[in-house]
């Protein structure tokens, strides 16, 4: 069981779970074969479990008996001008009722239009119109699910000239209007900062401390002069540096290693998760010492 938060500053609505990894089909056998769960918690991609039966649900039940699980979706399309997909919402609600996840999250993006799905996390303009629209939809989702959700910042390759605020200003305003939390993807901050030329430290400094319920870490790849959010590499040094910065600001926050392509053996992903735990401890050590000194 992970220790209680040292700083107790993370979002009080979201329990600190420790360090987790994504539950991926490549690791199903290895995860179930271990007597004890190899990590503190697992994340599932909700969309992959909205089926009535079969192996995914069987594995999920087995994992949930031993470990906290969080649901992470990719298809709410919170920013789309399409109506919310009520069937999808019902599926999420039913899955959540069955597995009682510690958290439910999706992305600050849109991915569908006119009933068609791009199966991608498309960027929004950071305008007052978009903010009103997304906030209203987050409120409706939270009402349907009867729980507060976390909204994740995405990696982006396009910025709109009409944006009147930064992405972090938009996220902060969204939290205030919709009373939702933030899933802070540190790799996405790193990728977008590179692609658009902003300071990643400003992003972290601009997110309200009491709204961050979960952190994502992942690897990315290079495409010409830009970075792509591919989740197919280990976490790079620059992202580890940003993670330590985030921990110093937000305190202990449940942290996930995402590895979705060229997936290595379970032990390698678990090792990356343990590295995150060590990085968190190292980042908090001076603050703890300072607190003790001042106390």
């Amino acid at each position: 069981m992970p220790p209680a938060p040292a700083a107790a500053r993370a979002m009080p609505h979201f329990r600190y779970l420790g360090h987790g990894i994504g539950l991926r089909p490549e690791h199903y056998q290895a995860v179930l074969a271990e007597a004890d769960a190899p990590v503190d918690w697992f994340e599932i991609i909700s969309d992959n479990f909205l089926v009535p039966g079969g192996n995914p649900r069987r594995v999920l039940r087995g994992v949930r008996e031993r470990t906290p699980v969080v649901m992470h979706g990719v298809s709410l399309s919170l920013g789309s001008v399409d109506p919310l997909n009520e069937d999808y919402l019902r599926g999420l609600r039913d899955l959540a009722a069955e597995i009682e996840p510690a958290m439910v999250s999706d992305h600050l993006c849109w991915g569908s239009l006119g009933g068609q799905y791009a199966h991608d996390l498309l960027p929004l303009p950071y305008t007052e119109e978009a903010l009103r629209h997304v906030a209203e939809r987050v409120l409706r989702v939270q009402d349907r699910l009867q729980r507060r959700i976390l909204v994740e910042n995405v990696s982006s390759y396009v910025a709109f000239r009409q944006s009147a605020m930064t992405e972090w200003e938009f996220l902060a305003a969204l939290c205030a209007r919709a009373d939702c939390g933030v899933l802070l993807d540190v790799n996405n901050i790193f990728v977008s900062a590179h692609n658009h030329g902003f300071d990643p430290a400003a992003f972290i400094a601009g997110i309200p401390v009491d709204r961050v319920g979960q952190i994502h870490l992942a690897g990315h790849s290079t495409a010409g002069a830009l970075l792509l959010d591919t989740h197919d590499h280990p976490v790079c040094d620059g992202v580890w540096d940003l993670y330590r910065m985030a921990v110093r600001r937000f305190g202990q926050v449940s942290t996930l290693i995402e590895w979705d392509d060229h997936i290595p053996p379970l032990e390698r992903v678990v090792a990356e998760s343990r590295r995150a735990a060590a990085a968190e401890a190292a980042a908090l050590a001076p603050a703890t010492a300072e607190q003790h000194a001042s106390g």
């Binding site: 303009p125 396009v158 400003a202």
Partner: protein, 290 residues
């Protein structure tokens, strides 16, 4: 270069609905963003007024990242779902099939899992099928059925011992019902040979023999037991009988239906043989589980 604080400048721009319409249209344009712009009567400069660019990447190049992701993510997913179909067509053939497929059947379900549902029917009508591959849709249908039954509801299978414990009159009226995790796929070509070759490791289009036409039409029975998906060939009569089981049918009624075209003794023999096979397969739903 956008301002270093990440704020793009608050320039006048299209309303959210119009912006998303333009964006979506360009990233799903079959020939890419530049061609999509031209088809809409727009120039690069028009896009530059909406999307920030710098010396590293133009607005078109940045949007092309999303266009490529849109197509390749779906194509790669479909290649995972239809490995034998992809191997039989080769890289270029499968790429072209999926390009045409997405124009006719863009994804309309939030789950990527559903994106291939219409591919078997589409492949059967595609020019690639008409051009010497009449088996194409059938092969894709077998692959889709195998994928589809994998995620269907878990149900207990009827157990032989449970059946043997029944009194004769109970047995005759017992409603036999197929589990939901099964599918029947009509087959007029031996596409299972090609499927086996690819799943046995063959992956070169040139090394795969085209499936021969069967002497008599048959059907694949595809089903899941625990976490394994199986398929086998059934003759037309057995396939018809399995279809009857979807609504539930007593063993006595099965014999009666079969007896309309053959002697009662032959009908009973046939039904008994099928019943033994269905029990061994795990194709029948346990009594009381419906």
């Amino acid at each position: 270069m956008p301002p270093a604080d990440g704020r793009a400048g608050g320039a006048a721009g299209p309303a959210l609905a119009a912006l998303q319409g333009q964006f979506f249209g360009l990233i799903t344009a079959p020939e890419g963003v530049a061609a999509g712009l031209a088809a809409a009567g727009l120039r690069d400069a028009d896009l530059d007024r909406v999307i920030a660019s710098d010396q590293r990447a133009s607005a078109v190049e940045r949007l092309d990242i999303y266009a490529n992701m849109y197509f390749y993510r779906i194509r790669d997913t479909l290649r995972d779902y239809f490995p034998a179909t992809a191997a039989a067509l080769g890289e270029a053939g499968f790429h072209n099939l999926i390009t045409d497929y997405l124009l006719a059947h863009p994804s309309r379900h939030p789950s990527l899992r559903e994106v291939g549902r219409h591919l078997p029917g589409f492949a059967a009508r595609h020019a690639l099928a008409a051009g010497g591959r009449p088996w194409l849709g059938e092969l894709a249908a077998l692959e889709w059925a195998r994928l589809d039954v994998f995620d269907r509801a878990d149900e207990p299978a009827l157990d032989r011992a449970r059946l043997q414990a029944l009194a004769p009159e109970e047995f005759a009226s017992l409603p036999l019902r197929a589990i939901r995790a099964h599918e029947l796929v009509p087959s007029v070509h031996a596409v299972d040979d090609l499927w086996s070759a690819v799943n046995g490791g063959a992956d070169a289009e040139s090394s795969l023999a085209p499936p021969a036409e069967r002497e008599t039409p048959a059907a694949f029975v595809v089903w899941r037991r625990e976490t394994t998906v199986y398929h086998r060939l059934a003759d037309a009569a057995e396939a018809e009988a399995i279809a009857w089981l979807q609504g539930g049918l007593g063993f006595g009624a099965l014999c009666e239906r079969l007896g309309q075209e053959r002697s009662p003794e032959l009908a009973a023999q046939r039904a008994s043989a099928w019943l033994g096979q269905w029990l061994a397969d795990g194709l029948l739903l346990s009594v009381g589980a419906e």
